[in-house]
Amino acid sequence: MENKQPKVKVQNLTKKFGDLLVLDNLNFEVKEGEFLCIVGPTGCGKTTFLNSLTRLYEPTAGEILVNGIPVDPKKQNISYIFQEYSSFPWLTVEQNIRFGLEIKKTPKAEADANVEEMLDVVGLTKFRNYYPSQLSISMLQRVAIARAFATKPELLLMDEPYGQLDIDLRFKLEDELIKLWKKTGTTVLFITHNIEEAVYLSQKIMVLTNKPTSVKTVLDNPLPLPRDVVSEEFVKLRNKVTDLIRWW
């Protein structure tokens, strides 16, 4: 497993808006099927970071390789769940989930199977013909997650998807995400402000500095799944990450 080339390789990624330096020479690697959490202080330009990774923002300098070739959403199978609610209000739940598959011109039989599977996994089968305006916040987030996983992505980016949910719902969706990640073996880059969430989900934690953002350090997270947020080792790792970030 070790000598295999990394799923994602980023070399001196830099991003400037005009002369304002936002991303300052980031270098890191992510292995196949790994769950990497990225955590940084408030306002550390994390959305710019993820958008540059998928070329939504053109990086000023640096190389981003997925499976060894420069990243290109048209060729590679990448999905991105945004912090803002991004389900299409004019499509039903089912049509929303099918959206990615249609863009990627997936054959109908396979597409239908994926959509049915995803509807079942996120528990929205009963709501397939509902429109987003009729759904609660947590159901909307489930639609976005189902849509992202439906295309069986090799790389999944998530920008603090559970930021607005209350604690019970957040833990529930986090458990669902881990189940989906284990089942599909996707490589996940999950960015968040919430340190407890990062320690709860990750195999590896990458800590970013404040603006201009660069990689402070990368920590391994050896804790066995499922994790207990009040257990001894969990809290030790959490304190370690907190001390690297604490600005408050």
Binding site: N51, T54, L56, D72, P73, K74, K75, I78, S79, Y80, F82, E84, Y85, S86, F88, P89, W90, L91, T92, F99, G100, E102, I103, K104, Y131, P132, S133, Q134, R147, T151, L157
Partner: protein, 263 residues
Amino acid sequence: MKDKKKVRINKYLFLSVFSICVGIFIWWLVTDGLGIFRSNALPSPVKVAESFVKKWYETKPDGATLLQHLGASLQVALGGYVIGAVVGIPLGIFMAWNDKVDMCVRPVFDLVRTIPGIAWTSVMVTLVGIGFMSKALVIFISAMVAMVINSYSGIKQTKTVHLWVGQTFGASNWELLTKVAIPSALPMIFTGLDVALGSAWTTLVAAELLASTKGLGFMIQQARGIFRLDIVIVGMIVIAVTGAILSSVIQFIGRKLIKGGRS
């Protein structure tokens, strides 16, 4: 709690109906009742109602029935309107979708849009003479301008996050436009269709007042010439009612086509 609210609502409903009746009564009082205003200054509601009924089939005094005038007006208005929409919507979308075109065309468009549709009548009449064509062209311009404005802002208001979702799935520029931007702009495009219809209808009436041989505008202008104010008021009522009906038809179609409870 609930029934108290219901009582309050019909109380206000009753008040509205009552206020209309009072209005009509005063109108009748000052005309037929006390004869303060002669009918060439303000015709009584009875006279207006009477000519409203008669005008539908009578050709007096302007040589065409109300129906024929209405038909003539609708034909011109809807003709110019449809072409204006067919040209205006793609132009607005095209202008909004690529920035270079947007920046070039925008200032010219801002200049043209402040020119009221009616101003073009003189140009068109001089170019193609009085008659159907000049009025249709004027209405085409006013409807097209309204359509471009609304489809333009509809596309510009597409949420960036929706475009990002499309881009990350690898959608081409054309797919982003057709599968994300246009569906998101649909409600605004229908607002445009509604506004354009209103401006087409208003411009038509103005054009007919200026120079025409048939149509509602022509009818009320003629009637004013011979002091038949009752026909003028009948004409105004028909203009208002037709405008309202056309607008509600567009809104109805909009509610049917726009999915997701967003219209």
